[in-house]
Symmetry: C2
Subunit: 210 residues, 2 copies
Amino acid sequence: MKKEKVSSAVIRRLPRYYRHLSDLRLAGVERISSSALGRSMGLTASQIRQDLSCFGEFGQQGYGYNVNRLSEEIAGILGMNRGHTAIVLGVGNLGRALLENFPFERSGFTLAAAFDIDPAIAGRELCGVPVYHADRLEQYLAGHPTGIGVLTVPRSAANVTAARLARGGVKGIWNFTNIELNIAGLGTVVEDVHFADSLLSLSYMITEAL
Amino acid sequence: MKKEKVSSAVIRRLPRYYRHLSDLRLAGVERISSSALGRSMGLTASQIRQDLSCFGEFGQQGYGYNVNRLSEEIAGILGMNRGHTAIVLGVGNLGRALLENFPFERSGFTLAAAFDIDPAIAGRELCGVPVYHADRLEQYLAGHPTGIGVLTVPRSAANVTAARLARGGVKGIWNFTNIELNIAGLGTVVEDVHFADSLLSLSYMITEAL
């Protein structure tokens, strides 16, 4: 299939499709109609068909989608089979929570290292991941081309650390700092995690329910 | 303005509008055109105008939107002025990270209490928030009507804790457990935080850049 066919709006929805298809696989479902998939995702069947029109060969009239093949196709488009590597910057509460609990490998990432300025943490291992002193970041990146940096440093260190990652050739930054990073022109893409957007949606829902 | 006019798709986007308008306020911007707001959000001017058509009185031809008033209107719709309360369930790494760093008050929530099963934590205060033993949850909820429960317990405790919150009258659950909660019929809404969706979008972006 050709990537050019997939619009950016669909790309933003692909992770959700992948998640729902994975749940279906786990439940032993082999094929699913667009209307059933739509129901489970809160979308209409026509939205589903439109979004997945570029996956035409997996969706057949009267058959629906082959869950395994559609799921693998989406995984491929999302780059889950590329052997991307990730490093964690800042092993505070949030960095540690991600290290200990987030299944990076399920998204196709290998968690290769973590960095912190605290000498009491640096030099140790956490969940099988080596933790280095932040001073060694440039040296590490020179020897280990890295896909993404997971940015969980304090806000005050956010931009400085992001710039060091970008200059070190890191392709993307997963930004948990709630700071708008200012690293334009360095060729590194940024994905911001906005907890507050999610909380405000919930706020709306409970307000409506009152 | 009438809430009936706002579609659910727009509701999902309102937090992003609110965030961008807040940034503009901080930067001292008093009014903005739909095209300028669109550029800063990666949307077209016509999308912006369509989304905010229900806020017509704040958008005028040749004037644009009054940043303060539009921002306050959206805050009102999102329920940010309702004095909602939040409690945190599970003071592990992630719960502690949210307690210590997440600005609940900026989303209109008061963080009233936290709960954990660890007797070494229960009875203490963290960042001014009292931490109680999880056994006392029902007793607490009976005396303190609560807007949302922030679910940061281990996966194994996710559904049990969610059901206790729902039966205790908690209106919404902010679910960080990566588990599909099974509390249908109890009248409590759930907002799932899916870190992996965000990581997969980033994976796509760095794969495209290769």
